[in-house]
Subunit: 581 residues, 2 copies
């Protein structure tokens, strides 16, 4: 490609509404252009990156035996009503009425349509396993789209769906996809982790996220440097502490804590470690009657150590809370605790409350909690002596760095990541809802065992940039760079020698199959270099009249601190060497 | 590709709602699968065809210097309001409200968005010319979607938009695209014609349609076998007949024609050629006041020879009718003609009517028309003697086969075609509406001169099938076949020799870069051959144990009436020879 026939449009400053570095750099480098909130034009440079991502994904999906098809962007509501998602999904699902008033959605994902295809096309166990995938435009009407392609509304996703005859087959399909994803992410040239994720109601361990490591990532990734344990924060188990519970050593005592409503404030006031305090979180579960009205409400008190955070996914697995819960209202709290939030605790309740203690709290002695009296806390609280043992003990908290690894092989560490892929075992959730069956060897209809596998095609470039950039701009890995190499001739319009050498080198690199751009725009060297550093092309070759007199060019990798002089005759081999590196 | 790892799903019968052959064959061959009215899944085989079409289009667009980008499917209404199309377009424009109640559309085309990009990105004449294109999903909410991908609601289009500094530049861009389109359509391997099309209000001759020739095509294409003249029916000019008008030879006479309300019926009744009759068409134009209310209505009488059809585009260019017209109501007709439709004519009007005669009619003598009296016609009618010369004379009719070619080089012929491409000079229509300007050499803002260029990516396979099929199925040209060649081994599961030879041949063809599929499904020969004939893979190679004993295979092109025995050692060369043919 020659720059004069392409479209390069860089900006000195990013628009004010770009908050994260990838969004800023994608706008500044001219990869994307905002059209509306969360909706972007993929500009020529950005589209080249997206196409390279697509090509790698497509090759590896095909290699893994998946078959590509393409499902419509606009999908009829009927299928979404079959699974209940038309109503269950919130306003994120973009709903449309056509000219005849019929309901449609803009697809955010395609479980319904692909299951509809399977129930019509896959009649027999002999046709299984089958894995269909597409690379297609999606839409999710996010309430607050932001961070450019990181959390846009319109985006491109690769979504694959496997159909198997039984759970063992589905697990094999799942593992094949997990392997393919490792090959895909290896080829992207990014640092990433495959982390265990929560598999929701399905159970089992067949859910993994592929996280691109980046300090700016939204997700916390838990891993064990001494082993290959890795999970996301939702999933990572906090092991039960090693008991037994210490004996009580302090008397229970009510202490005034005026205006100190957080554990941290109380610990500071009393001069004790935060880990000696216990925080009280009040939840509610509603029981509904057949008409769908609320027939009764149970209030729950969750107790966590003051320095720990609640993990909602884990809480949602506690028996009794596993059908959905909400935070209690202020009125409910006051009715049960006789006190406003900030000074709550498990002692002296006005009405029955179910108490669930985190594993850590269940083994604490001499702890501090709210007194259920404004501006007062209790210290020296002890289980059994001061209050009954909790109704339940469970892992309710997020792990923290230094916790023991669940595999027993070391201590956990935490880093940040950006979720770009997900493999997930679905079981028969969709095939049952849509009665999608095949005939087994005995001629009996059976529901498909399914899995789904996504990669955020347009999110990946943003994640790559969050991981790989510096103050001058983007640093692309070769595999997904908009161009692998750029030839920057200095004074091409003045010097016939420079022009001829540049054109010849360009032709040679093209012939060698290298995706190269020749910057023939006639920009001054400073502006030209700044553009390519911002755009992040990994390999740069500079030709100048002076260098050519000595038959030399300058090579610089985007990560190099200085340029290297290379004989013009050797530059292709040099470049190939650096590309191989 | 091996069939066992792919997805083949053929049907014996097409669903009843498939009317045209391409729709039937695409469903039967498993290329597409209906999801909703006018909305189709592109199944694995169909997607392969679409991707090949896309690849050819992309290569030639790039070669022509156009730059690919991608504009969102969901576009904000604001831009569409700037050009007025948000209101002007009918229900074909699919309108959406997002969760915040803001208006969006699903793009049917992208003039607004690309013009918005240009006005932000193309600041200077130095950046021109520039041609942006995309290959992207579109949606048009057709009232009556039908014919499968021929007139679907969701479809894929390649749309390109050129930006130039002046009309001469725009014409050069237009010509470059017209040339690229010829290369693209040549590469598809289809018989097609580039025909002049009407360019609407812009004027000039810079509008061409690319029509794939097919007897079942919706469009009539006019061409001159003796020259390179070709136009669509809307555009093709009916030359003025060579005068002078013959002298009157008959008296005017009112004749009873009870129940004969069409020219054909009257000609038959009176025993005269249909070409002696004149048909009367009544139109109306409304004048509106500033409030938009109708302030006055003008009634028009169009006179065409009985054997000619009205051409609405030509009528829309008659001065006075060029701001829009409608057919007159029954009440308007009766008020002006004193008679019901069926017996209307230009003589004996009740109120003033503007009379426009087709060029042919203006030179007729002794003609027949309605008498403005039920069940009566006039014969022997003559201009000047029986009625004043018409208010206007114009080309109002469709040409017919045998008409003189407008280039004076022969007679016109007519065939049917399917419009798959269109190149169009837009002028400043959009750039003015959206105030999209660049700075010229003098620093003065000027509106972009634009062109737009479309190819129906998903319609093309349907058009290809309408042109190339037989009773057994589709016959693909090599360039866009889902697979170029198929290897059909007979008894592969029984014979190790067949299996080994098939696998080796498959590997050899793959290595030679041929897009081949090995049918390893274990189907019986009859079913296997029927599948591939239906699917339309152009080159078939059959391996059998008997043939292999003589080191022979059977080759058959989809168009051949019989198979040819070819030495196994020569089959690659033989295949390449037939592919080159």
């Amino acid at each position: 490609m020659k720059a004069s026939q392409f479209f390069i449009s860089t900006l000195k400053e990013a628009p004010a509404d770009a908050e994260v570095v990838s969004h800023k750099l994608m706008l500044r480098a001219g990869l994307i252009k905002k059209l509306s909130a969360g909706i972007y034009n993929y500009m020529p440079l950005g589209l080249r990156v997206i196409r390279k991502v697509e090509a790698i994904v497509r090759e590896e999906m095909n290699r893994a035996g998946a078959v590509e098809l393409c499902m419509p962007v606009v999908q009829p509501a009927e299928l979404w009503q079959e699974t209940g998602r038309f109503d269950a999904m919130g306003p994120e699902l973009l709903r449309i009425k056509d000219r005849h008033g019929r309901d449609y959605v803009v697809q955010p994902t395609s479980e319904e349509v692909v299951t509809d295809i399977a129930r019509q096309e896959l009649h027999s166990y002999k046709q299984l396993p089958k894995n269909f995938y597409q690379i297609q435009t999606k839409f999710r009407d996010e309430r607050r789209p932001r961070f450019g392609l990181m959390r846009g509304r319109e985006f491109v996703m690769k979504d694959a769906y496997s159909f198997d005859r039984d759970p063992a087959g589905a697990q094999a399909s799942y593992q094949a996809m997990a392997q393919a994803y490792r090959r895909i992410f290896d080829r992207f040239g990014l640092r990433y982790r495959a982390v265990a994720a929560d598999s929701g109601a399905i159970g089992g361990d067949l859910s993994e996220e592929f996280q691109v490591i980046a300090a700016t990532g939204e997700d916390a990734i838990v891993y064990c440097p001494q082993s290959d344990y890795a999970a996301n924060m939702e999933k990572a188990e906090a092991l039960a502490p090693q008991g037994p519970r210490p004996a009580a050593t302090q008397p229970r005592q009510k202490v005034p804590t005026p205006g100190k409503s957080t554990c941290a404030e109380v610990a500071e006031l009393l001069g004790v470690p935060l880990a000696n305090t216990v925080k009280s979180l009040v939840l509610a579960t509603d029981r509904t009657n057949e008409a769908g009205d609320i027939a009764g409400t149970q209030i729950w008190l969750l107790l966590l150590r003051g320095d720990h955070d609640m993990n909602e996914v884990k809480v949602g697995k506690v028996p009794g809370l596993d059908q959905g819960f909400r935070f209690a209202t202020q009125a409910e709290i006051e009715a049960h605790f006789g006190c406003k939030p900030g000074y709550l605790g498990p002692i002296g309740l006005q009405k029955p409350v179910k108490v669930v203690a985190d594993r850590e709290v269940a083994l604490m002695a001499d702890w501090i909690c709210g007194a259920n009296e404004e501006d007062h806390h209790l210290r020296g609280v002890n289980w059994a002596r001061d209050l009954p043992e909790p109704d339940a003990v469970a892992d309710l908290r997020n792990v923290v760095a230094g916790d023991r690894s669940p595999d027993g092989k070391g201590e956990l560490a935490i880093e940040r990541g950006i979720e770009v892929g997900h493999v997930f075992y679905l079981g028969t959730k969709y095939s049952r809802a849509m009665n999608a069956t095949f005939l087994d060897e005995n001629g009996k209809p059976r529901h498909f065992e399914m899995g789904c596998y996504g990669i955020g095609i347009t999110r990946l470039p943003a994640a790559a940039i969050e991981q790989n950039h510096d103050e001058r701009g983007i640093i692309w890995p070769d595999a997904i760079a908009p161009f692998t190499a750029v030839i920057c001739p200095i004074g091409m319009e003045r010097s016939e020698a420079v022009r001829a050498a540049a054109e010849k080198l360009y032709a040679d690199l093209c012939a060698a199959g290298i995706d190269v751009i020749l910057d023939d725009r006639g920009e001054r060297p400073g502006a030209m270099f700044a553009d390519w550093e911002l755009i992040g092309v990994p390999h740069r070759i500079v030709l100048s009249e002076r260098g050519l007199k000595e038959a030399q060019v300058e090579y610089q990798h985007r990560c190099d601190t200085a340029a290297t002089k290379v004989a013009l005759a050797d530059i292709l081999a040099h470049l190939q060497g650096r590309m191989g590196a």
